[in-house]
């Protein structure tokens, strides 16, 4: 049936990021699988094998449910700073929306690990968000979320790295920059994004002693109520080659 290879609900951002990459028949890694959007996109584009790696048990289960029937998929629950994958074992790495969840120290470790598992000649795609404009109201919600997670876990929940910075990080690990494209401009922060970030902020605040946590929870609810859905900022896609 024509069109039947189309995956279930592959976002256009994922398709746009993969459109000019050779996926057909390749051994691929989705680094930070979430609900497996990129895994679904890679399968749709004819990947030979996809390792979907995430450290989150619920995400791993979600990807398994969504794509697990396809025998090209291996869902791997692991920390991306040290995966069970062998050196030089993958030919295309995608990190779509991963780096904003990594603080600078983790970013460095993950970049090293992705480089370790990539075979000579392989491709790397890194898709993420530029820092939001100073006047974007949603920054206030992310600020509360980061404040709560700094206090609870000693690190920020979110870091929006400029495209130029991630480019240098991966070039520093030996990757050759290939191209940059804009995936979203502006980025829609919908009601469902806002409520998820409010929940995340409250969850981190809930792990703090009450005198610290309670005001942060109130701040998250208050900010979420007056921020409102808005489209702002940019999501970009960087592509690299490993040529040695």
């Amino acid at each position: 049936m024509p069109g039947s290879t189309l995956g279930t609900g592959v976002p256009e951002t994922v398709r746009a990021a993969l459109a000019d990459r050779p996926v057909e028949g390749q051994v691929c890694l989705e680094a930070g699988a979430g609900v497996g959007n990129t895994t679904a996109g890679l399968l749709e584009s004819g990947a030979g094998r996809v390792y979907a790696v995430t450290d989150d048990a619920d995400h791993a289960a979600a990807v398994q449910r969504r794509c697990g029937d396809d025998d090209r998929v291996d869902v791997v629950r692991a920390d991306l700073r040290a995966t069970p994958l062998r050196p030089d074992s993958v030919e295309l790495v995608s990190a779509h929306g991963l780096c904003n969840l990594l603080d600078p120290a983790a970013l460095e470790d993950v970049a090293a690990e992705l480089t370790r598992v990539a075979a000579p000649g392989s491709h790397l795609v890194v898709d993420d968000y530029d820092p939001l404009p100073e006047d974007a109201a949603v920054r206030r919600l992310f600020a509360v979320e980061n404040a709560a997670s700094e206090l609870a876990d000693g690190r920020p929940a979110l870091t929006f790295y400029p495209a130029a910075l991630l480019k240098r990080v991966f070039e520093g690990h030996g990757w050759s920059f290939d191209r940059e494209r804009t995936l979203l401009d502006p980025v829609p922060w919908t009601e469902s994004h806002l409520s998820a970030h409010t929940r995340a902020a409250c969850e981190a605040a809930g792990r703090l002693p009450d005198d610290l946590g309670a005001p942060l929870e109130r701040a998250a609810d208050r900010v979420a109520a007056d921020v409102g859905a808005a489209s702002t900022g940019r999501m970009y896609s960087l592509a690299f080659r490993w040529s040695e």
């Binding site: 049936m1 024509p2 069109g3 039947s4 189309l6 995956g7 279930t8 609900g9 592959v10 976002p11 256009e12 951002t13 398709r15 746009a16 979430g34 609900v35 959007n37 619920d58 995400h59 979600a62 779509h96 929306g97 804009t182 995936l183 979203l184 401009d185 502006p186 980025v187 829609p188 919908t190 009601e191 469902s192 994004h193 409520s195 998820a196 489209s231 940019r234 999501m235």
Partner: protein, 200 residues
């Protein structure tokens, strides 16, 4: 009807494979429309479907003298990203075959809420779906539909909306791909019942 000729005859509501068979049969609807065309009563022949994109594609492949296809195209539909809603694929194939494309439901927001299902007079607009109604939303929807490459964006049925659509069309100046994706992503998340599907 007091007219001498129908410029474009759209065969309406193709939904099932069997209907495509029936329409294209030797004594089917298409044969009758072709006769009318030969007599000079109809100028061009088209087909309308809200149904399976694969079926519309089959019709494009199968009907040689098909000149237009009409189908839904809006960000909510595009956001589904699966085969059942692959009207983008229809658009591509139509372009390849030099068949004109008419996009409907460009301004549809969703079905009417249940209470107005029962009482049609409760509905503020004379459309069978609930339309977007703010000028900025209408403009965004027009720009999106036009930028996808349709030959024509079909205006919504309610006259109150038509002037806003015409204004949007007047001011149309393209919409780049990153903005189109942004509109689709916003619709995808509005539509998603799964709260953890938060990734752009």
């Amino acid at each position: 009807m007091g007219i001498e000729k129908i410029d474009l005859y759209q065969v309406h509501g193709l939904e099932y494979e069997s209907e495509l068979e029936a329409i294209t049969a030797e004594d089917g609807a298409l044969a009758a429309v072709r006769d009318a065309r030969d007599e000079g009563l109809v100028d061009h022949i088209g087909l309308t479907s809200h149904g399976d994109p694969d079926l519309i594609k089959a019709a494009i492949e199968r009907i040689d003298d098909l000149e237009t296809v009409m189908f839904p195209l809006n960000p909510v539909v595009a956001a589904k990203g699966d085969a059942e809603h692959d009207y983008e694929g229809v658009l591509e194939l139509a372009e390849e075959h030099d068949v004109g494309t008419l996009g409907i439901k460009a301004f549809a927001k969703g079905p009417w809420p249940p209470e107005s299902e029962r009482y049609e007079e409760d509905r503020p607009f004379a459309n069978w779906y609930e339309p977007v109604a703010r000028p900025d939303e209408i403009r965004e929807r027009f720009d999106f539909a036009a930028a996808r490459g349709l030959t024509s964006v079909v205006s919504p049925g309610d006259p109150k909306l038509v002037s806003m659509v015409l204004d949007a069309a007047d001011r149309y100046d393209g919409m780049d791909e990153a903005t189109q994706r942004s509109v689709v992503e916003a619709a995808r998340h509005d539509d998603s019942p799964v709260p953890e599907q938060l990734h752009h």
